[in-house]
Symmetry: C2
């Protein structure tokens, strides 16, 4: 082969590589393909452009680009009951042989009979009883295995799919889009922190150390010289409502510049995030699509959106109309 | 120019680039120049090699490369009193005009008179009183400013330098070395989380969200419509001894593979870290250098190292002999 041919071949390879990369970049195109064009999508894109434009008046350095996401109703569905309650009910059923007294004792009786109405009516007190009975009394590693096994086996009553299939495709795209723009994404949920950590990395790309949630106490012990952490039936922290800014401060130690929620439980997180100096972004997912998902807001006992909806309008937070703004809701729908 | 010449020139550029990169890599040379060659340094380098060798039997994927560092006595000095106690004493002095009762009330009287012996003798109860009086009652942002102002003004009694000058050069190199090898580095300290977060990023390269520590409760409030977090005089969490594995589990949600401490307060963190499966690393800094720093261990009321020193020997954790292993202690010493 002549020098000319060798050289031409190598330069050819190089050119091919450049074109390939350009092609990939072009094919990426719209980073939010499941979002219909409209004010919500435009507001997101404008915000990201503002805080990433170096030298611009609204620039935020990457270290400060913290975005916090509620989980239930914001990243995945929460109907007909919070998925963690479905988990607790399944645990009650699995543990029932060792607890004959549950047959006659509420809220366990309701859980065993699948009587969700009575269960929901048992309120926070009943829910806490259910959680303590099913979420404590084992090591942290044992609990992680229980959660993973449940997620692999359990099916959602309406969609007959694993609960982790019921995540919102537009929000997955939004998480990836923010991270591609230098954001650190966090879950900040009223749900149990150890119920989420086993799967958030796989499903959302959010590692365990970026999950904030409610927790029970744990205790360090040496068992036959082997260190373990035991889960205790005692509430440590409730990461909901006014607890969300507290949880953010405790775990992250910086004020986020963007917050995403769907209910009144997220109101204070949105106030805290958008109340700081500089460019800020608040967004609420409004469940308006009873066909593809669910439609509920001011009257719902789960994920009630009332005060936060009014405040969103008053403060100019972005409100996503799920029916109008989302081309696709779940990843399993055809694009 | 002929094709041959064009090609030769481009290949020449390429070769030059490769040599340049190789040169940079070589010039970097020893990543731990302040560590004398010896078993401690060798153990660190071997550990890092083991967990980063792809395909090797001890390989750990980057996501799991979590390293936790105690702060007082491990990353910076802790004599003659914990630096946060020096901060609290200075705060008592600054706040004294508004608290005439402190002139006769312990432990405030001792703090005002600089009577460290009485102060230390007041024990945990006295210390907590001091902390609550000086660390609570303001917003989180106000407290951050107070800490920063103090660090800028206060001088260590022996070295007549800012307290953040008294960090250990070998440990700064170790932090950077681990991060360059894909580790995520955390502070896990018995000290106050909000006392550390304002400066750990600048001094250690550790961002606020990677700082775990003791905390008091905070409360979310709207003040004239503006959201604030108020620091309350109530203990939330003590991140010491058996609290350290609990704090690690709470904040990080993964078990670290490497832990670095210097006292019995770090024993359970070392047990928890090294008790997991796969390659693990535990290290204890033994203060043996009264000339350049301080020499203390089993009898010290501050940073007592007794049980953990015995267990280190029994379990094969690396023990750093500061006098022998560290070529340089503080960054301000001549290299």
């Amino acid at each position: 082969m002549t020098w000319r041919k060798v050289c031409a071949r190598w330069l050819g390879f190089l050119l091919f590589g450049i074109l390939l990369l350009a092609g990939i970049a072009h094919a990426q195109g719209d980073p939010l393909p499941s979002w219909n064009d409209g004010p919500a999508k435009q507001a997101i894109v404008q915000f990201v452009k503002d805080v990433t434009t170096a030298g611009g008046p609204k620039y935020v350095r990457p270290e400060e680009r913290i975005a916090v996401f509620d989980n239930d109703g914001t990243l995945w569905s929460e109907q007909p009951i919070y998925f963690q309650v479905a988990f607790a009910v399944d645990r009650v059923k699995a543990m029932a042989p060792r607890h004959p007294e549950w047959k006659t004792k509420q809220p366990f009786k309701a859980a065993l009979e699948g009587d969700m109405k009575t269960l929901v009516a048992s309120g926070e007190k009943g829910l806490v009883q259910l959680m303590m009975a099913t979420h404590a009394g084992m090591t942290t590693e044992e609990f992680e295995t229980i959660v993973k096994d449940w997620l692999a086996a359990a099916r959602h009553p309406r969609f007959k799919r694993s609960y982790i299939d019921l995540v919102y495709q537009p929000m997955l795209e939004l998480l990836a889009y923010l991270r591609a723009n230098g954001f650190k994404t966090y879950v900040v949920s009223g749900g149990g922190i150890e119920f989420m950590r086993p799967w958030t990395e796989k499903v959302y790309g959010i590692p365990p150390e970026q999950v904030v949630g409610s927790s029970i106490k744990v205790k360090f012990e040496l068992r036959d010289g082997k260190p373990v952490l035991i889960r205790l039936p005692e509430i440590d922290f409730i990461d909901d409502k006014a607890g969300k800014p507290v949880g953010i401060h405790k775990f992250i130690g910086r004020r986020p510049i963007a917050a995403f929620g769907n209910s009144d439980g997220d109101l204070q997180m949105l106030q805290w995030t958008t109340g700081g100096a500089g460019r800020r972004f608040g967004l609420i997912v409004h469940h308006t699509d009873g066909d593809r998902e669910w439609a509920y807001d001011r009257q719902s006992s789960i994920g009630r959106l009332d005060k936060a909806l009014d405040e969103a309008r008053a403060k100019g937070w972005t409100v996503v109309d799920m029916k109008r703004d989302w081309r696709r809701v779940f990843p399993f729908e055809k694009p």
